[in-house]
Amino acid sequence: MDPFEYVRAGDVAAAVALVSADPQAQYLAGGTTQIDLMLKDGVIAPERLVDITRLPLSGVTRRDDTLCVGTLTTMEALAADPAVAEQIPFLREALLAGASPQLRNMATIGGNLLQRTRCRYFRDADVTACNKRAPGSGCAAMRGPARMHAILGASEHCIAVHPSDLCVPLVALDAVVDIEGAGRWRSVPLTEFYVLPGDRPDIENVLEHGELLTQVRIPLLPAGARSGYLKVRDRASYEFALTSAAAALLIEGGTIAWARLALGGVGTVPWRAREAEEILCGAPAADRTFRAAAQAALRDPFTVSGTAFKVELARRTVIRILRTVSGARS
């Protein structure tokens, strides 16, 4: 690995100025993906790391019906927050379903949003064909073993999954990220933050170089709503999702009055299932509704031989979480 310069930023403005001015600079927060990709896999090689971990961007505050989460808050700290446990239980479930306690003590919320894919072809610098690493070089996953890959939002140029559990309930809830850049700040809904791979899989989100995520604003669930997160994986714990689903429902007199649904483990971006939500809203909280929603959520999948099984698995994941959240017997 090439040497890099280590810089500890004194404040947010200095950090943004340092990274904005240097195309080879990157922010360093929890480091759990970045140090791995730099030191161990040799996939990324920044010449300068600007350590932001001592900036005052951690902590959780409640403002009316919104939880404001500093992007340097760790996954464990957010999972331990009483407001999350009481008001957004599926967010806590998703946080604790991710990684291990050690990694959750290190990994930040901002870093979780920006974590890189676990695609084994992307993470192996010896594999030449990867459009995400080297635009135009091809996609080795299209012909190789691809069990952990995407079936929604994918293209023949890239089938890499966005691996976050946390982002699944966040897109379901219409969370918003606040972004600080050199001389400007802006807010972007998380559902508009990520970019589908198309023919440019190297572009993963709307961030410009030097922009820094400072806060995530998470709307609380409406009163009376119930929620759940279901993660299906090859091991009982400490494993990325094959499929996952986050669901929140408000049921009044047996009818679904309000619904949110998002999928993980299957999308090139955290996948909001809006068509399924439209089917759920106003319909009876019953199996036939859940089946129709699952069909809609998995419409027009993009599969290769290794991922074809995930279509039905994802449908069943959706049906099961909707049954669980609605309290229906399965």
Partner: protein, 164 residues
């Protein structure tokens, strides 16, 4: 408001390791794991996968368990590190260490320092409520010998519970 500190490729550090102040000059690429083992001679912390997957390098950083292979030493300036060497008090093993011996919570022993550091943190976090909870919150520590049942038994005992 803090001061921006440019360290370059070499970094000067002052940190506390097992209660003792230590000073180090390291390359910016050096991880906390390598600094502990190579620069400070504390080889109790083990290098397993070296990519955050196995937990063998678990230490406490400011009291919280982390995998030291994915922490840059440069990030630890002014911080407090506890390794397996720092658990015993006045020649007395930590109760978790004693429980691992009593329950034979290891075979080859390579993952054991990481298992014990993780278990000490787990008890502080209050996550030893059931065997199921112990297993879930020890999932970041792999044991290729498969000593898991005895590890769970040791932690259960250290938590002061009877067998379930």
């Amino acid at each position: 408001m803090g001061k921006t500190h440019v360290a370059g490729a070499g970094v000067d550090l002052a940190l506390r390791v097992n209660g003792c102040p230590r000073r180090l000059h390291v390359d910016s690429r050096v991880t906390l794991l390598d600094a502990l083992r190579e620069d400070l001679g504390l080889t109790g912390t083990k290098k397993g996968c070296d990519q955050g997957a196995c937990g063998a390098c678990t230490v406490l950083l400011d009291g919280k368990r982390v995998v030291s292979c994915l922490v840059l030493a440069a990030q630890c300036d002014g911080r407090d590190v506890t390794t397996i060497e720092g658990l015993a008090r006045d020649g007395q093993l930590h109760p978790v260490q004693e429980a691992f011996i009593r329950h034979d919570g290891f075979q080859c022993g390579y993952c054991t320092p990481g298992q014990i550091m993780s278990a000490v943190a787990l008890l502080q976090e209050g996550r030893a409520g059931s065997d199921e909870e112990i297993r879930e919150f020890m999932s970041g520590n792999l044991c290729r010998c498969g000593a898991y049942p005895n590890i769970v038994a040791a932690i259960r005992e250290a938590a002061g519970r009877q067998g379930e």
